[in-house]
Subunit: 462 residues, 2 copies
Amino acid sequence: MQQYDLISVLERVSELVTPSKERREKVEGLLRESLFKVESIIKDMGINAEVVPVGSVARDTWLPDDIDIDIFILLSRDFPEDKLGSIAVEVARRAFGSYTLRYSEHPYASCRVDDIDIEIVPAYKIMKGEKIVSSADRTPLHNNYLMGKLNSNLRKDIRILKAFAKSIGVYGAEVKVEGFSGYLLELLILFYGDFISLVRNAADWRPPVFIDIERIASKGEALKKFDSPLIVIDPVDPNRNVASPLSKTQFFRFVAACRALLNKPTEEMFRSRKEISFTPSRIKKELLERGTDIIVLLVEDLDLPPDTLWTQAKYISKRIRYVLEENGFRVLWCAGHTDEKSTVAVAAELESMEIPKALIREGPPVASQGERDFLIKHISDKNTLSGPYIEGDRWYVVKRRRFFNAADLISDYLSGKNAPKLVRGRKVRIVTGNEIGKVPEEIRNFIGKNLLRKEVFTEMLV
Amino acid sequence: MQQYDLISVLERVSELVTPSKERREKVEGLLRESLFKVESIIKDMGINAEVVPVGSVARDTWLPDDIDIDIFILLSRDFPEDKLGSIAVEVARRAFGSYTLRYSEHPYASCRVDDIDIEIVPAYKIMKGEKIVSSADRTPLHNNYLMGKLNSNLRKDIRILKAFAKSIGVYGAEVKVEGFSGYLLELLILFYGDFISLVRNAADWRPPVFIDIERIASKGEALKKFDSPLIVIDPVDPNRNVASPLSKTQFFRFVAACRALLNKPTEEMFRSRKEISFTPSRIKKELLERGTDIIVLLVEDLDLPPDTLWTQAKYISKRIRYVLEENGFRVLWCAGHTDEKSTVAVAAELESMEIPKALIREGPPVASQGERDFLIKHISDKNTLSGPYIEGDRWYVVKRRRFFNAADLISDYLSGKNAPKLVRGRKVRIVTGNEIGKVPEEIRNFIGKNLLRKEVFTEMLV
């Protein structure tokens, strides 16, 4: 019965995730057209390069509502690295008019035609086993590998899996998501044969999970080398774990979602979810209801690539959480966000913005080595409120906290010598709950989402 | 040099703690007189009993400012236990007029002549090795043992040690103090030979310390049997640890004080300390300065022996601390007190009286046995503020606390089915910091002492 349910759900989902004939014609037409343009321009520029389509459009594994046309310009290894950017720019400008120059490890150009993103990525042409310069160089090898394996059934299940991963929020290897790349999802379908088998297996995944489709790596060595919940050996490079960007949280979210799907199959688990919008008054109402407070840091006017902004947002959020907790604040959550353009935001929900001024500090055991230093330090310190006294076998002292207001603490931290590099010498806005209106809408929505954080599939697990 | 210092300090202290000729004459006269009276009355009552002086006055180890004359009426084992009280009462009334009937394990009568306490204690006469009915029966054996060992040098050092123990707050085996009984201190001087040797040795004590003056017990068995930092085998009973009432805190306080004395010898360490008096406004000022709050429970109109009141005060304080901490309140200290007459008080200093309404609860690992129950419990609970969500390999949920005000929590606890027996069906007053004027002076002083808690010898350790 349950089996039947899941199968009928997947049948309906399959229709949902398969591009319509018109859509397919449009996208494939645009791909052919773009390839032709790029090839002509490259030839015209007198550059010796191969132009290849890669990614989900090239492999026919794309989702109707999430289209990226990736065109790689493969150059020989003697092409100067510092000119990769100018090639991308020139090709993009001449082929599509407007473009945005972006960076991951290498520069690339991003263009938009109607609602479709086209990316022009210069890379070095390598053969399997050859050393890469940037990880983009490996992409054409991935493409070749998959093109030699995929068939229409696998493509159908890859689309279903991508929709599933997207719906539960684990699709994407970028720092923002720390989830499953498209390539990784395609490999998983390849390995397990179909979506249902993958889901059944993943429901029982316990880290570390080791998958080596081509049997080219040693499991023992891989477990030593990769500290990941999921290890999927790259078929084109035995030294690479395709799942290395996957966080523990996203791994377990996927496992739990697979169990939820098996338990109560529903199309809901494959639908894109709309971002909820939070007005300032809604956030204030939530905070009042929860009896908590919120502190937001805004680092603005930045000019960095999205992945760098995300890395900074997450790094700073970890530091801020540490500083808050070290100083006695109780943090419900602390998370980073970026608009991927110029702003990094870190927000933390605190049990309260102010904590009591006094705290007990546990000292060393009586008559231990550290006793003298502890006593000297605290006996006549002006922030000693009482003690030192003995309780059980240890010394204790009651101290006045240096910071009892979170905003003061964060201000001090950000202007101090341990501040994250990104904020040094930069003005950081610190905003608290009742000033939430001063925070840009996107950041507000990020905060609201964290306030109401809940796994979308929770009800399907019970 | 330091050696010399300590010796000259002890010489001066010795004068301080030795009773003057007049005092000695008065106390010894009173003892002789009391013994004579009690013996006559016993004879007159037609009771077959031996009247013996015991305790520090009998052994000439008393401190000038702390005098207890203990007179034991030793009865044969066939004397009915339920008549011990009436003997004590009758003897006390006829000998001294007024008296107070008290209880430890047996009833006894307490009388006062001028500034001297006289205690009339009925007990059973036993021989070494015989079974006792109450621990008072053992006291005459202790007295006999010590009388056979003491000389004037030992007596001098016992007085010095008692003054030291009293000054640092470890003198007394009663529940209030959980420290060293007079008998224990006398045995320690006997074992180490003199005060300085005891102090030098105790400075290096690490639990468990095993002392068996008469070599009558097995160390291995004693360590198994007694879970105490200090084990001193009773010379009159190898199965008894004289130091069993000693708490870990008092053990380490004594060790630290010995180290302090060796480090910076001063007469101060042998002087009685005055109780400090705290007005309500002083306590309020302290709390303001510390940024903390205080909650006091008063159980009044009780009629129980002092040791029972202390036991209850300490027991309830442990329960209250547990309940507060279990519910998220941060407790700087929680302590019990009693006026030894009719009131038990428990006070706790809290970082704050109110804590935030929301808290994160860690749930079971994803896909573990407990997952389903956890999710069912929290998914639609009205106190779930957000979640369940996954972080790392676990589920979490943000809950609304049931209690965010300490006074509400304590009220609920005291009227619930887990309340300590003493308070059941009894009205308990709950007082907070700004109503501190409603608390009796003695309890206020106890609170003030805890607020300013500090080992008196801290400065002498560094």
